[in-house]
């Protein structure tokens, strides 16, 4: 599993305004299903725009639109940073 990868970071620890690629989504079937329905999969590139205070939600850009994830579900996503070269790819 990629979770042990050196580069794997929890989404909530990613600084604002950085682009990352999803490595793995942990957690139950339901949350996985809901994230999938919104277009979040391992391999999807996202950009973290903002994080709310006091374990607030995470605002992110994905597939040319913006979504907000609650702290709990965001913490189930592990990502790796991407080089700022070929963004806008999905």
């Amino acid at each position: 599993m990629k979770k042990d990868d050196v580069q794997s970071i929890n989404l909530i620890n990613v600084p604002e305004n950085s682009s990352v690629e999803i490595l793995q989504i942990t957690g139950g079937y339901k949350s996985m299903q809901r994230l999938n329905d919104m277009g979040l999969f391992p391999g999807t590139q996202i950009k973290i725009l903002r994080k709310g205070i006091m374990h607030g939600p995470v605002q992110l850009a994905v597939r040319n639109s913006q979504i907000v994830l609650g702290y709990g579900i965001a913490s189930k996503i592990f990502v790796k940073p991407i080089e700022r070269s070929s963004s806008e790819n999905g």
């Binding site: 999938n36 391999g43 205070i53 607030g56 907000v68």
Partner: protein, 654 residues
């Protein structure tokens, strides 16, 4: 004989389905710039030439999985009501996620029209969509539209008729015999699994094939959709089919080392990506003004400050304009009084006519309407602007403490207008527990009727700052009550997953129409109730029947709450409509000045009690439909206990 076409309107939340629905049918379905308005489906009928077109506005969904009630509603609708045509509305500025649903609808193999809405908004955000190419790639008729301006709606109707005529005479847009239509290519592994599963379904002649088509059923089985799987298991050869499915699933899952659901969804998004790559051109990226507004609106300091400032601004705007309108209209109506007195009626009839009917109408027009009108205007603006979703972002962590998430704030905020849509709107939340807690909270939110009571008594005679205090106190009560409810009510809560809509300038015509329909609704529904209630009260008074009633209520109303005895009666009438409590109290004392009846202290107790006690009849009905009778009864009991308890304590300490 007129011919009838049955149409289902489907799409993601917040793409303009309801605007299109209203445009086509002339009806008024609630619109607004936040996901989840249409929680119950709405139906409308209109004529086009010889055709009667019946159209159903389905709730907005992201997917046809069975995660929410809305998704199941849409699935069942398509399978069992067999609409002739599906009109799938997609948001041009968010095409990729919208196409994810389109692909699932295509899997159902229904005659379908694709409406690419808000194409102007997408263009102004630097997105150019080649709808002709989209049409040839998907094999679906594609119509670009700007629903708020009525652009494209005529074409939709024409296309509906055209497609219906074509499909009923056997000339289908896409050949029904192929398993995978046009652009639907899930990759070799998934395609193979689908073929295997659909073969076995055909072999055992599964009745589900007729309802949903082979592609959709096969994919749902591969995704391990529990609903579809359960239904297959009930069939004769159910276990054989499922064991074949399980084989295919394990092959897939070991090849991708992911769950089959993720594999299939990901394949669908790949299809959407491919479609986007071909049809969407991103023009030079301008810095969108939404981002600049969000810098303040979602900021961890300025976001909250601006939220509070906005709320206060809205409050004072409603109060000030209401106060002005109220005194203006009151002056107008005072001129009416001599006219009635000159009619030479007996004292009995004069009482009935003047106090009962006329006074009732005057109260509605001079006390209720002046506050409701500015309220509805501001609510419509807030709703259509996209700001409500920002409030959800800001309040998410606070809402988690009470077992809800940020999205719950949207129906609760709507409760300030009316508790009925608020309670019905809680269905956008994921779990039963969340729906129950949020419905309970919604009944404690002061709706416009209760706002009238608070502003018309405390606001006018004690000063608006006291009314603000009542509101803040109410928010505290709501928060504490929900902390308790969260502990008591079993079940789990989900986390926030929400689309953040762009800011929109509310389009003038639909917004005005929306305000007008709300006012009309209020006048049609509230007026008769108020007048009927007033007449009934006058009759009771004339025959001196009130005293038998107050004997029962006096111990609570007079002794414990320290209110005048007659308040017991108006609180009962108030269950019909909350405004009645104030209107009737004034009528019983033949005055329009509440300060002649209640002391400031009594106003506060009266205000708090009317705010918290038994919800009005319409809200009770909505509660019953949303959370069932048993839970509704508990909510009503809890509301009443809180009202009496808190009202009494306030009476004791101030």
């Amino acid at each position: 004989m007129d011919k009838c076409i049955y149409v289902g309107l489907a799409g993601n939340p917040n793409v303009g389905k309801s605007v299109i629905f209203n445009h086509l049918t002339g009806l008024n379905q609630v619109i607004g710039n936040w996901p989840g308005k249409t929680v119950e489906r709405a139906e409308g009928l209109f004529k086009h030439g010889d055709w009667n077109i019946k159209i159903v506005d389905l709730p907005g969904i992201y997917s046809l999985s069975s995660y929410t009630q809305e998704e199941i509603v849409t699935r069942e609708f398509i399978a069992f009501e067999k609409p002739d045509i599906i009109v799938n509305v997609v948001d041009a500025s968010n095409l990729e996620r919208n196409l994810f649903l389109t692909i699932q609808l295509m899997e159902l193999r229904m005659p379908m029209i694709l409406v690419v809405n808000q194409i102007d908004y997408a263009r102004s955000n630097g997105m150019d969509i080649n709808t002709n190419l989209l049409q040839s790639l998907t094999g679906l008729p594609v119509i670009p539209a700007i629903a708020t301006k009525g652009v494209g709606t005529g074409e939709i109707v024409e296309k509906i008729v055209e497609l219906y005529t074509a499909s009923s005479s056997g000339i289908s847009m896409n050949s029904k015999n192929r398993l995978f239509p046009g652009c639907l290519d899930y990759g070799p592994e998934v395609n193979k699994a689908v073929s295997e599963v659909s073969n076995i379904l055909k072999k055992y002649e599964s009745p589900l094939l007729k309802d949903y088509g082979p592609l959709w059923i096969s994919l749902k089985l591969i995704e391990k959709d529990s609903e579809v799987t359960d239904r297959v298991l009930k069939e004769n050869a159910g276990s054989e089919i499922i064991s074949c499915v399980n084989n295919e699933v394990s092959v897939l899952e070991s090849a991708f080392s992911q769950s089959s659901f993720t594999i299939v969804s990901s394949a669908r998004y790949k299809i959407a990506e491919t479609l986007i790559k071909n049809t969407l051109k991103l023009l030079e990226k301008r810095k969108s003004y939404a981002d600049s507004i969000d810098k303040i609106a979602l900021d961890s300091v300025w976001g909250y400050i601006s939220l509070i400032v906005l709320m206060m601004g809205v409050f004072f705007a409603i109060f000030k304009s209401g106060e002005y309108l109220s005194s203006y209209l009151d002056g107008l109506f005072q001129n009416l009084k001599p006219l009635i007195h000159n009619l030479n009626m007996s004292a009995f009839w004069e009482d009935i006519v003047w106090n009962g009917a006329i006074q009732g109408i005057i109260s509605v027009v001079t006390i209720v309407l002046p506050y409701i009108l500015p309220f509805y205007i501001l609510l419509s603006v807030a709703e259509n602007s996209g700001y409500l979703a920002r409030i959800a972002f800001l309040t998410d962590s606070l809402m988690h403490k009470i077992g809800l998430h940020g999205k719950a704030i949207i129906p609760i905020m709507m409760g300030y207008g009316c508790n009925v849509p608020a309670v019905l709107g809680t269905k956008i939340l994921g779990s039963d527990k969340e729906v129950t807690v949020a419905s309970f909270l919604a009944t404690l939110v002061p709706c416009s009727a209760r706002t009238v009571i608070i502003l018309g008594t405390i606001g006018v005679f004690m000063g608006p700052q006291y009314a603000v205090l009542i509101y803040i106190f109410d928010i505290l009560v709501i928060y504490l009550a929900s902390l308790a409810a969260n502990k008591v009510i079993p079940g789990k809560s989900y986390d926030l997953i929400m689309e953040l809509p762009g800011y929109r300038m509310p389009a003038l015509k639909p917004t005005l129409k929306q305000i007008w329909f709300r006012i009309k609704d209020f006048i049609y529904v509230a007026m008769p109730v108020v007048i009927g209630g007033s007449l009934l009260l006058e009759l009771l008074k004339s025959f001196d029947l009130l005293k038998y009633f107050t004997v029962i209520t006096d111990p609570v109303i007079v002794k414990w709450l320290g209110l005048p005895s007659l308040v017991g009666i108006v609180l009962v009438f108030g269950i019909l409509r909350k405004e009645l409590t104030l209107i009737m109290l004034l009528e019983m004392y033949n005055t329009t000045v509440i300060a002649n009846i209640l002391t400031p202290k009594q106003m506060i107790v009266f205000g708090v009690v009317t705010l918290l006690y038994i919800p009005c009849v319409s809200t009770i009905v909505a509660l019953g439909r949303t959370i069932g009778r048993k839970k509704s009864a508990l909510v009503i009991v809890a509301d009443t206990i809180m009202a009496v308890l808190i009202g009494g304590i306030i009476n004791l300490i101030i």
